[in-house]
Amino acid sequence: MAMQEEARKGIIAICAAHKGEPSPLMPILEEIQKKYGYIPLEVQELVSKETNVPVSEIYGVVTFYNFFSLTPKGKYVIGVCLGTACYVKNSQAIIDKFETLLGIEPGQTTADGLFTIEAIRCMGACALAPAVSVNGKVYPQMTVDGVSKVIDEYKAKEVNA
């Protein structure tokens, strides 16, 4: 799959915006991840060309941090918090329920490209435990029964869109 010209220009622009900063690799990759949702190898090669950082090093960084992804994520990223405060309040049962209902495991994306499940290591919303977030929106005090409602909410959005 060839990169679209527009994306190519966008990535070059991101690299250019950080020129002159000391060691700008992390902010560059973070911006690309936020804007395009993933950082495949051909993007890493382009970043390497623009920044003169070897692609092996970039690959090492991309695969080290949880925030970066080599494959596209779903339109809705469901983050289930498995931090300690949520875990002792049974968040494992909640992520299990998401897995059963969507038929995928954490880190995977549904075939229709709509949902990705992620196990989050604490989002710092411990008072809301167990907490779930969908594209950054936090659902406090989640229950096992509430899981299907969350999924339906976003499925309904798609039907109405």
């Binding site: 060691s23 290591r121 710092g124």
Partner: protein, 624 residues
């Protein structure tokens, strides 16, 4: 705001902002102030919509001259949010919903009547409490790190200046030599709030002793300990305080550049920090020749990318340098050779937040609070099975009993307290017998745990300690950076052994092997992550040997958590034969005859999802 180019100009701004802030709180001119919590917990419960609704109604009802609407940082009592506070009366409303706004506007703001139904009710005395300070949760607290949080609007420099902000910066730049600042911080006795508790003044002194063309101060906001959220709330509630602390550090040991390293999971904190930095640059509080002195300083922000190990200072420095976040061998310590090879101090958010206070009140006054070896206050993030979940700032030396039962309000649903885990995945658990120990850095270590960043997760009788150890091991195993073999491979093997135990396949030998391996990992790892990786296991094995014993010998999980070692069971004498459980069961493993024969679970087919128990109207189903 105009440029602040001298100490006098800053003083004038402080004076005018203080007066404005004071007038706001005291309601001078009959104008009342509504404060709405904008912390992460309350935002998730629609506090933003509440704020907009207030603004709308104030406008519609023509109250703009009589009421100001402010969003503020975290109140700390997150389980009772969203909070709305009204000055000058100091009335606190809790669990406010968007639909309550017209009630507050009409009855309180217009008619001057307190909305009784929105007041906090003390769970013990059942009395309604009007003022925040009268709530038990707040009575034993002292706010230094959380200074100004829930009072000032973190989006405005004027608010910070109006509430003691930058007085300490002015004092050091105009009245103190750098060495005097270090001496003051040394004398205060403050130790690093990030976990290890190294004396902050000493760290600064090491860096000050180095001769270099460039030095750096780095603020560690990579709050990775699951269950801790004080750094997040401080950065969200009063970002200026932390920047000021950083500048004082920079002045003290000669750094002209500062870096914030904040988790990407904290978007609100990042946004508020960036805005604060921008506002400070505009008026010249950051940049060249601050207040017309020779001190120049600027701050940058880098976002973390989701790696727990980056909370370790040398891994963090590698991450800023655009590398994999793997720790470096120490020595050389960062104070000698840190960011880009230059002398660098890495201080935690909470540490830097306390610095302006120390300078303002003086080391002697600060040192009056706390214990012999641990001075000042510490913020704890109380979470888990506790009534009052939230952020609690208490003097060092407060007992666990005060923390859990007086401030935390005890354990919900009449359950029994079992343990409290402090120090996160690096720490350990404390039990009933530790409740009266005054908590500080040294006592916690003596009791087999550690302070860590201040996460404090309470567990009750329904939590299985082997399962909790498994949880932490799973965490550490996936967060090990892979540099040292004992940590990379050892944590994996430990996790496998623990899984054996929770599945009922472990033996006494497994437990002995676990202990032996834990010792190897401890001794053979480069950084604190590996050195402390086995702590949760060792600590639960020491404190709860009978639970491990039950798992490996009796093949039982006493708390009925480990699925392979527990069963759902229908009590035939309680079963009303309604068939609800059988209809709800996702794998159709419950059989019986409606109205005639009690229902029975086929244990070989049961997947232990718990749906039957949750749905039984007669509480006939239990775990055993």
């Amino acid at each position: 705001m105009d440029k602040i180019s001298s100490a006098n100009a800053l003083q004038q701004d402080i004076d005018s902002c203080s007066k404005a802030f004071d007038d706001k709180i005291k309601g001078v001119g009959g104008k009342r102030a509504v404060m709405i919590c904008g912390g992460t917990g309350c935002l998730a419960n629609d506090s933003d919509a509440i704020l907009k609704e207030f603004e709308k109604q104030i406008k519609e009802k023509g109250l703009e001259q009589k009421v100001s609407i402010n969003h503020v940082g975290c109140f700390g009592f997150c389980s009772q949010g969203p909070f709305v506070k009204i000055f000058p009366e100091d009335t606190l409303y809790h669990k406010v919903k968007v639909s309550d706004v017209s009630h507050i506007v009409d009855d309180d703001l217009i008619s001057g009547k307190v909305c009784e139904d929105l007041l906090y009710v003390d769970p013990v005395t059942h009395e309604k409490v009007v003022r925040q300070d009268d709530i038990n949760f707040y009575k034993k607290q002292k706010r230094i790190s959380l200074y100004g949080c829930s009072l000032i609007n973190p989006d405005f420099l004027e608010e910070s200046l109006g509430y003691d902000g930058f007085k300490a910066l002015k004092k050091v730049l105009t009245e103190m030599k750098p060495q005097q600042v270090i001496d003051e911080v040394l004398a205060s006795g403050i130790r690093g709030r990030g976990g290890a508790g190294f004396p902050t003044g000493k760290k600064w002194q090491f860096a000050a002793n180095q001769v270099a063309d460039q030095k750096y101060i780095v603020c560690n906001g990579d709050e990775g300990d699951p269950g801790a959220f004080m750094d997040r709330s401080i950065l969200e509630g009063n970002p200026f305080e932390v920047i000021e602390g950083m500048m004082i550090a920079g002045y003290a040991f000669g750094a002209s550049q500062g870096y914030f390293y904040v988790r990407a999971e904290y978007p609100v904190a990042v946004e508020r920090l960036l805005r604060a930095m921008e506002d400070m640059r505009k008026v010249g509080l950051l940049g060249e020749h601050i207040l017309g002195t020779d001190f120049s300083f600027d701050v940058h922000l880098r976002e973390g990318a989701g790696a727990f190990v980056c909370g370790e200072e040398t891994a963090l420095l590698n991450s800023i340098e655009g590398k994999r976040g793997m720790p470096r061998p120490r020595p050389p310590f960062p104070a000698i050779k840190g960011l880009w090879g230059k002398p660098t101090c890495v201080n935690n958010v909470e540490t830097l937040a306390q610095i302006p206070y120390i300078i303002r009140v003086g080391a002697a006054e600060y040192a009056k609070v706390g214990t012999q070896g641990s001075k000042g206050t510490k913020v704890f993030a109380l979470g888990g099975k506790i009534n009052n979940v939230g952020l609690v700032e208490v003097p060092m030396g407060t007992t666990l009993r005060t923390l859990i039962f007086d401030i935390g309000g005890g354990i919900p649903n009449g359950k029994k307290f079992k343990a409290i885990q402090t120090g996160g995945p690096s720490g350990g658990c404390l039990t009933e017998e530790d409740l009266d120990t005054p908590i500080d850095y040294d006592t916690l270590i003596a009791r087999g745990s550690m302070m860590g960043s201040g996460g404090a997760i309470v567990m009750d009788e329904d939590n299985c300690m082997v399962d909790v150890a498994h949880f932490y091991m799973d965490f550490i195993c996936s967060e090990s950076c892979g540099k040292c073999s004992p940590c990379r491979i050892g944590t994996k093997r430990l996790l496998e052994m623990l899984t054996k135990v929770t599945n009922g396949n472990g033996t006494e030998q497994t437990l002995q092997d676990m202990k032996a391996l834990a010792t190897v990992i401890k001794g053979g790892s480069l950084c604190a992550l590996g050195q402390t990786a086995a702590n949760p296991i060792l600590s639960t094995m020491t404190k709860f040997p009978e639970e491990y014993h039950a798992h490996v010998v009796d093949k039982k999980c006493p708390a009925h958590v480990c699925k392979k070692l527990m069963q759902y069971w229908i009590d035939p004498s309680l079963c009303k034969k309604c068939s609800k459980c059988a209809r709800n069961c996702p794998v159709s493993c419950i059989a019986g005859v409606p109205g005639k024969e009690p229902y029975v679970i086929n244990q070989t087919k049961c997947i232990k999802c718990g749906t039957c128990m949750a749905g039984c109207p007669f509480h006939a189903i239990s775990k055993r």
